[in-house]
């Protein structure tokens, strides 16, 4: 009964009651499954095998299995992996007060730095023009 392409229903865990297909047979009591469930290793005792069988390659991709399920009228919705949201760190009032002081102290220094960069840009642009003319 246990072979690649066999339709199953998962009977344990949070994917219980969902349909899946055996993709690969692993060592011991384990198989690889994919379908409505997540693509993962699974114990045979956690599967209820069905009579239906589908022709697929070993280690078939998730998209291939999606198509097979789509033909049967079962749409598989993939969840996007969550991206980490970077939250601004909360600072203590004492630290905030320190930062404000340093910022005010830095500001005049920053302005001079900007001027310098502007001057550099102006110098950097000039040679480029000359290069174009040569071409």
């Amino acid at each position: 009964m246990i072979s690649i392409g066999r339709m199953c229903v998962k009977i344990a865990g949070r994917d219980a009651g969902k349909k899946c297909i055996i993709i690969d047979i692993l060592e011991g009591p384990f198989v690889l499954i994919d379908g409505e469930t997540r693509r993962k290793r699974c114990n045979i005792s956690h599967l209820e095998l069905l009579e239906e069988k589908v022709e697929i390659k070993k280690n078939a991709s998730h998209e291939e299995i999606k198509e097979i399920f789509a033909k049967k009228g079962i749409t598989i919705t993939d969840t996007k992996p969550k991206q980490k949201t970077v939250r601004p760190k909360k600072l203590r009032r004492s630290k905030l007060a320190q930062e404000v002081k340093t910022e005010t102290a830095k500001k005049p220094a920053a302005k001079t730095a900007e001027k310098k960069t502007k001057a550099k840009k102006a110098t950097a642009e000039k040679p480029k023009k000359t290069v174009k003319k040569e071409e």
């Binding site: 344990a12 949070r14 219980a16 009651g17 209820e48 069905l50 009579e51």
Partner: protein
């Protein structure tokens, strides 16, 4: 004579250590009974046993197992039920 709630057993006694090192006795309302499986009657695991005002502030995912029939049936009964359902459909 002390208060009525201190004499009756409707309130449970909770002993807590104070920061000073003494133990103090608190009289709190009793917790509700444990949740049981609707199929076999076993005590359910992973279902907290708290008064409603505490259950309000617990997230839903911590109130019952994250599987079909979680918090209603135990894992064994859930497994049997899904097997029954799948076999009934395949026979048709």
């Amino acid at each position: 004579m002390v208060e009525g709630k201190k004499r009756s057993r409707t309130f449970r006694r909770v002993f807590k250590k104070t920061p000073g090192g003494n133990t103090r006795k608190y009289y709190l309302k009793r917790k509700p009974g444990k949740a049981h499986c609707a199929g076999c009657g076993d005590v359910l695991k992973g279902v907290p046993r708290e008064r409603p005002y505490k259950m309000q502030h617990i997230p839903k995912t911590k109130k019952r197992p994250e599987r079909p029939y979680g918090g209603v049936l135990c894992s064994k009964c859930m497994r049997n039920k899904i097997i029954e359902q799948t076999r009934a459909v395949s026979k048709q």
